[in-house]
């Protein structure tokens, strides 16, 4: 029997999936289309998180269904095939902030134990 423990271990997994968190974070400062989100996440995490198309778009669909993001009304003439832009909803912003705060408490704890120096990751 193949165990799938190591990569999706429940204990080490944060309450919000890292993918969701990164997508929401990417939309926090600007509306973006799918490819833009991919690019932003890649640059910001310095290549640590690489999104893949199927993974990205089905999570976008789910986030939309959960009303954490919404599609931006098209401005001007909607050209066929032009990419769809997404923006963060109020609920999305709340959830993202909550997650960031939760992660920050871990970082604070690590600093308190002198594992990390102030201002350094």
């Amino acid at each position: 029997m193949l165990s799938i423990g190591i990569y999706t271990d429940r204990d080490t997994m944060p309450p919000m999936s890292p993918i969701w968190f990164q997508i929401l974070l990417a939309l926090a400062d600007s509306d973006r289309h799918g490819l833009g989100i991919m690019q932003e996440v890649l640059e910001r995490t310095q290549g640590a998180m690489r999104l893949w198309p199927g993974m990205l778009y089905r999570n976008l669909q789910k986030l939309e269904a959960e009303r954490l993001i919404e599609e931006v009304e098209s401005t001007g003439s909607p050209m066929a095939g032009s990419p769809r832009f997404y923006r963060l909803t109020a609920a999305g912003r709340r959830e993202c902030t909550a997650e960031a705060r939760r992660l920050a408490t871990f970082v604070d704890a690590a600093r308190a134990k002198h594992l990390l120096k102030k201002g350094r990751p």
Partner: protein
């Protein structure tokens, strides 16, 4: 392309909204990975995109029910595929870090898998694939048995074929053929194999010509215009594939034949390599006299609903009524009810074509399988050592939450990646090996033209690869039995536990065992081949050169043939270095049996049943010229040889010892001065036996000698108005073949420019060709055995070296306490030789069993030949000592101070 196809797996509405963007994003991903990893990035990106899209399709079509705790877990499928990919990349990275290890492993596997693939291609082409005809399993090979003469499979006569075709109820079609060779007036003249066939042959085989038409009934009538059909190969080689050749006239044995068709590529019958097809013309008037002329190979096609057993029953019933078909007074009938009677038999055509090659090929496949197993054992050892050095890595991964299953999957992936790389290289090697094998000895195996790499072979290789990957990939698992805690606590130093030592030990034992089996089998074959090559064939084959010449009966009558031979012999005899020249129609040691009815004066015809008189049938009629016995170096034991006076004198013959034993000694008669005649017709005079010569091998060097009569070609035209047209000339010469061959060709051309010189070779080569198959098998098995021995030696050496490195501390302490080098040497040697000894004992048992399987391949060697087995055990022991000695000597150089300080 593939990506777009895979995208169809996604739900329609998802594709409608995200489809175009998905593609753009996919391109971006590929560019991103390429920037990161170069060309490898493109490959991994494509793989990752594939798993991504499949996982997405699964996730969208069958959304997992939200778990109680966590609504955001990834799908199981995606995780699985993701893990597989990660394992794959992990394995690839690991191998790139250790290129030496990777190279050795892949090379070993490539040899192992390649050899298996090559041999399996042969097994597949020869044994497994049906013959290349439609519904080939319906084809039966029809022969007759003459148990009284010792012939289990003999040809059929034309009347028998016609009666069988007319009166059977089991076959939808029947055809007969005989193979011969003919001279064609190509430039230069060529001598292809020809099939003389009945018109029913092709409907029986179910193949139609590529161009033109097959023979009609009219073509086979006496007096019809001569026609011929070419094989695709002959057409391409000699006429450059020119379609205009149909309708053209070509000279076959100096007779003008119209080409009416071309057969499809690869078309043949019974592996006779026939290149020209000619209709067999049977004159109805001569039919009654041909009942005893058994010369046709017959192929029959069973009707759709008739089983082989039903066909056999039908034939058995028919044979009891044969007199009704043949008419009253007909002789040579099938007599199934009489012991030793003449009876029909049928066998599957394929079984007959494949014949004796079956055991040989299965033995080779078994041998090559053992080589792969030994290679696996070696690799398992390597991987074990590698796994031990990675002990901490595994421990850390386990501590971080990797289950046993994950590590298991990781090992399997590494094993499979290695074996897949080995397989790719192996298939390439197999392709090369096959080309080499088939070009070196194309006649060593039947159906060699049909051997190649096909889907089945590749499927076999794939299975083999997966099995191999699993077998040696499993080895490191034995490490997992170690307690994690121990590993982590022990820190950097890891020592092989008792369990692993046992695993290593058994691997060595297994390798030695298998190697002994292989080497012993090869040893038996080598001895057998050497026996074959040193068989006394009854004549002195050193310094003999031979070639074939065929005198077309259209332009050479019997007397002209004899005259041509005597002119040719006198001119060849004048060449420098040639001491003697003669001609014969049957070339020893391997020619077709004649089994001709021969009347002996002292044996009454129509002897009553049950009398112990020998049946008046002689195995070989040999037509020779005057200087035959002296040229060949065959001793005349009694009486005299042929003399110049015999050319114009009374009819005389020579006979061999086997004939004397069968027809004279058994009757208490003196052979010299006795009389015999070819056939029983009153018009043929009696021939006087003037001498007895030594037995000469004719039916193969491994077959017993048959009875033989020598007729003198210089007198047969005068006495029986006949002389053979197909002759083998033999020269006794001190000149090597190369220096005399042009002179021979020039001499023949000088007498008749239309005659090709064929099969010009030394008599030693004739012998070599007659043992082509045993030699082929022996060489291959020899290579495999050498490989096995080498691998086993490397394996033993590897394990022992490892043990020494593990025990260096212990050895150091021993030496510090006063142990001398000798005792250290003995300590290490003992460990290795103990394992070897167990392997040798098991291997000997295995070799005895394997020898029994190969019994039919051996000639004058017992399958349990003690000498061979003793030599092999001794040889393996020496190799093992050498393999153990190197690590043992290294152990004696351990510096106690250094090891104790560590």
């Amino acid at each position: 392309m593939i990506y777009r196809a895979l995208a169809r797996l996604l739900p329609r509405e998802f594709r409608a909204t995200a489809g175009a963007e998905l593609e753009l994003a996919a391109d971006a991903c590929i560019a991103r990975e390429q920037a990161r990893l170069g060309r490898l990035g493109i490959v991994t990106a494509r793989l990752r995109l594939t798993t991504d899209i499949i996982a997405t399709a699964f996730a969208l079509r069958w959304p997992a029910p939200p778990p109680v705790h966590d609504t955001r877990r990834r799908g199981v499928i995606e995780a699985l595929m993701d893990n597989m990919l990660k394992d794959f990349l992990y394995a690839v990275r690991g191998l790139r870090r250790q290129p030496g290890f990777a190279f050795l492993t892949v090379l070993t596997l490539a040899l192992g898998i390649g050899a298996n693939t090559a041999i399996f291609s042969v097994v597949n082409g020869v044994l497994l694939r049906p013959l290349p005809y439609p519904k080939a399993d319906q084809l039966e090979y029809v022969t007759t048995r003459f148990p009284a003469l010792g012939f289990e499979q003999f040809w059929m006569s034309p009347p028998e074929l016609i009666e069988l075709a007319d009166h059977n109820e089991s076959f939808s079609a029947l055809g007969g053929f005989r193979s011969t060779s003919v001279t064609v007036n190509t430039t230069p003249p060529s001598r292809p194999n020809a099939g003389l066939v009945t018109t029913g042959l092709m409907p029986t085989l179910g193949v139609t010509p590529l161009a033109g038409r097959w023979f009609s009934e009219e073509d086979a009538r006496p007096g019809a215009g001569d026609v011929a059909i070419l094989s695709w190969e002959f057409w391409n080689r000699q006429y450059g594939g020119d379609p205009g050749v149909i309708g053209r006239k070509i000279l076959i044995d100096n007779v003008s034949n119209t080409v009416i068709g071309i057969m499809p590529k690869g078309y043949d019958v019974h592996d006779q390599k026939i290149e020209i097809w000619i209709p067999l013309t049977i004159t109805p008037a001569t039919l009654p006299n041909m009942r005893g002329s058994h010369f046709l190979y017959v192929v029959a096609r069973r009707k759709d609903n008739v089983s082989p057993a039903q066909a056999r029953a039908d034939l058995a019933k028919m044979q009891t009524h044969w007199q009704d078909f043949a008419g009253a007074g007909a002789r040579h009938l099938f007599r199934p009810n009489i012991p030793n009677g003449h009876v029909l038999r049928i066998d599957p055509l394929k079984a007959d074509v494949v014949g004796g090659a079956r055991t040989a090929l299965l033995v080779l496949q078994g041998a090559v399988g053992l080589v792969l197993l030994i290679a696996c054992a070696n690799l398992a050892n390597l991987l074990l050592a590698r796994a031990e050095s990675r002990q901490r890595e595994f421990a850390v991964r386990t501590a971080l939450g990797a289950g046993r299953g994950r590590l298991f999957a990781q090992f399997m992936t590494e094993g499979l990646v290695l074996s897949a790389l080995g397989a790719v290289a192996g298939v390439g090697l197999a392709w090369l090996a096959l080309k080499g094998l088939l070009s070196i000895s194309p006649d060593a195996i039947p159906r060699s033209a049909e051997v190649g790499l096909d889907g089945r072979v590749l499927a076999f290789t794939l299975l083999l690869t997966i099995a191999t990957g699993f077998i040696f990939g499993l080895a490191p698992l034995s490490n997992l039995s170690r307690r994690l805690i121990t590993t982590l606590r022990d820190g950097t130093r890891t020592t092989g536990g008792r369990a692993q030592k046992a695993v290593r030990g058994s691997l060595v034992i297994a390798e030695v065992t298998l190697a002994v089996v292989l080497v012993a089998s090869a040893g038996l074959l080598v001895r057998s081949l050497s026996n074959l090559l040193h068989v006394d064939a009854g004549f002195n084959r050193a310094e003999l050169v031979t070639f074939g010449v065929v005198l077309p009966t259209a332009t050479y009558g019997p007397q002209q043939r004899a005259d041509f031979l005597s002119r040719l012999e006198s001119q060849l005899g004048a060449l420098p270095g040639v001491t003697s020249v003669a001609s014969m129609d049957g070339l020893p040691p391997n020619r077709a049996v004649n089994a001709n009815d021969t009347d002996f004066e002292h044996i009454p015809n129509n002897a009553p049943q049950g009398s112990n008189l020998p049946i008046e049938n002689v195995d070989y009629w040999q037509n020779v010229t005057q200087h035959y016995t002296e040229t060949m170096g065959i001793p005349v034991l009694r009486g005299r040889g042929f003399e110049a006076g015999d050319v114009t004198g009374a009819p005389v013959v020579l006979v061999n010892e086997a004939l004397v034993r069968k027809f004279f000694t058994s009757q208490n008669r003196e052979p010299v001065g006795g009389h015999l005649k070819p056939g029983s017709a009153a018009t043929i005079p009696w021939f006087t036996i003037v001498g007895v010569v030594r037995d000469v091998k004719q039916g193969g060097v491994d077959a017993p000698v048959g009875s033989e009569v020598y007729f003198l070609v210089d007198q047969t035209p005068r006495i029986v108005q006949d002389a053979p047209s197909n002759m083998n000339i033999v020269l006794r010469t001190t000149q090597p073949l190369l220096s005399i061959s042009t002179a021979i060709e020039r001499t023949v051309r000088g007498l008749d420019a239309g005659l090709p010189v064929v099969k010009l070779r030394s008599m030693d080569d004739v012998f070599g060709d007659s043992v082509a198959r045993p030699r082929f098998i022996t060489v291959l098995l020899g290579i495999f055995a050498a490989l096995a021995m080498l691998l086993a030696a490397i394996g033993t050496y590897g394990v022992l070296s490892y043990l020494v490195s593990q025990q260096s501390q212990e050895i150091g302490i021993r030496m510090a306490l006063g142990a001398d080098r000798g005792s250290v040497l003995a300590l290490v040697l003992k460990q290795g030789l103990w394992l070897t000894a167990i392997g040798l004992v098991l291997g000997t048992a295995g070799a005895l069993a394997a020898g029994r399987l190969m019994k039919s391949l051996l000639f004058n060697v017992s399958p349990t030949d003690p000498l061979t087995i003793a030599a092999v055990v001794l040889g393996m022991a020496v190799v093992a000592v050498l393999a153990c000695l190197i690590p043992a000597l290294r152990a004696t150089r351990v510096d106690p101070l250094t090891t104790l300080r560590q």
